[in-house]
């Protein structure tokens, strides 16, 4: 991936995270997700993972401690985050943006 096109900081969704770390040879989107995470890491960019995404990823009753490594930061969904999202990105705004850009609110691919 061209480092010039990489963002300084990116928050990844659960699906991207799972595809980047997992072994999913039949998933056509996995290589891109892995390449993206590798590129962000090797170019000292920041990857953010929201705590709810971490919750969605974890399967099992006794997971090991989440790594604290430079490059990937689990960010809390606390009251400050909730207020910021509610103020600046109410659902009506997100829907409007999704419609204007012909994308789904939750799927990464463009609608056909």
């Amino acid at each position: 991936m061209d480092p010039k096109l990489l963002p300084i900081r990116a928050m990844v969704d659960t699906g991207v995270f799972i595809r980047a770390l997992g072994q999913r040879p039949d998933d056509p989107r996995s290589p891109d997700c892995r390449d993206f995470l590798d590129a962000m890491y090797s170019n000292q960019r920041e990857v953010l993972l929201a705590a709810p995404s971490l919750a969605e990823t974890i399967r099992g009753f006794d997971p090991p401690s989440v790594p604290s490594t430079a490059g990937i930061e689990v960010v809390a969904f606390d009251d400050e985050a909730a207020i910021a999202l509610g103020l600046h990105f109410p659902n009506s705004t997100l829907k409007h943006l999704a419609l204007a850009n012909d994308v789904s609110l939750t799927k990464s691919a463009k609608k056909p």
């Binding site: 997992g22 999913r24 590798d38 099992g60 960010v75 809390a76």
Partner: protein
């Protein structure tokens, strides 16, 4: 009584009036700019409420009545005007959470009310309703207490009752100080200017700035050169996902889209 008179009376009773009351208030003594701004702000509020409810509401005409002083407007749908005015009243009373899209027009109307001379009061009269516009309550700033996790650089450690000073991108690079116990202070002393993931209990001021806090625990951030630590974690904590064919289906993303009416 002629038909025209009956029609005039009927129309007037369906009109919406914004009444300004107070000592010496008459049409001749009104501040024209403040009054017109008040009327405009109120109509904008009503129209925005109607727009969000996806109903049409139009007003025609403007008369100034010599009843103290009242701005009078004729709605195209009196029943609808009444319903919208009642909703505006409930929002102004603060009994309902204000939708984001209405904050600006609500604030604009409140400002217009505040711009009137202090002894003047405003009442909305619509059909049989009398809806007083009360001055906006002065909100008592409340402290916000929460626990969270922040990635931060250790700037300073010390004090008889130990404190730690951090700086974090999550806080807009504003340094903040939290209390710590002696053991934590000793360990953090060896991590000056290093990154840690700090779990903290915080008190924020009404602007969201950290006022004070307490360090609960912390983990040094390791400067790994690759994703191995996360890959190993995934194998132990989440590898069941490798057997899931449709991740988004499993996460229920498609269900959310259907319920929201977003076309996938």
């Amino acid at each position: 009584m002629s038909d025209k008179t009956k029609e005039d009376l009927s129309r007037r009773s369906d009109d919406l009036r914004l009444e300004i009351d107070g000592p010496g208030v008459h049409p001749e003594t009104l501040d024209p700019l403040a009054t017109l701004e008040l009327g405009a702000a109120y109509l904008k509020l009503l129209k925005k409420i109607a727009e969000e409810a996806r109903v049409d509401l139009e007003f025609k005409g403007l008369t100034v009545q010599d009843k103290c002083a009242a701005l009078q407007f004729t709605p195209d749908n009196p029943a609808r005007a009444e319903a919208v005015a009642v909703e505006a009243f409930e929002l102004l009373e603060g009994g309902r959470l204000t939708p984001h899209v209405l904050e600006s027009v609500l604030s604009g109307f409140r400002s217009a009310v505040n711009n009137l001379p202090s002894q003047q009061s405003v009442t909305v009269l619509v059909r049989s309703r009398k809806l007083p516009v009360r001055p906006a309550p002065v909100a008592k700033p409340e402290k916000r207490v929460s626990s969270t996790k922040l990635r931060a650089v250790v700037l300073q450690v010390g004090g008889k009752n130990p404190t730690v000073r951090f700086v974090s991108k999550s806080e807009g690079e504003r340094p903040f100080t939290v209390s710590a116990d002696k053991e934590q202070a000793r360990e953090l002393g060896a991590l000056l200017f290093e990154l840690v993931d700090a779990e903290v209990q915080l008190e924020r001021n009404p602007d969201g700035v950290i006022a004070k806090g307490r360090l609960l625990k912390f983990t040094p951030v390791s400067a790994e050169k690759n994703l191995q630590a996360w890959t190993d974690w995934y194998k132990a904590a989440a590898s069941e996902w490798d057997d899931v064919e449709d991740i988004e289906e499993e996460l229920g993303r498609n269900d959310e889209e259907e319920s929201r009416g977003v076309d996938a």
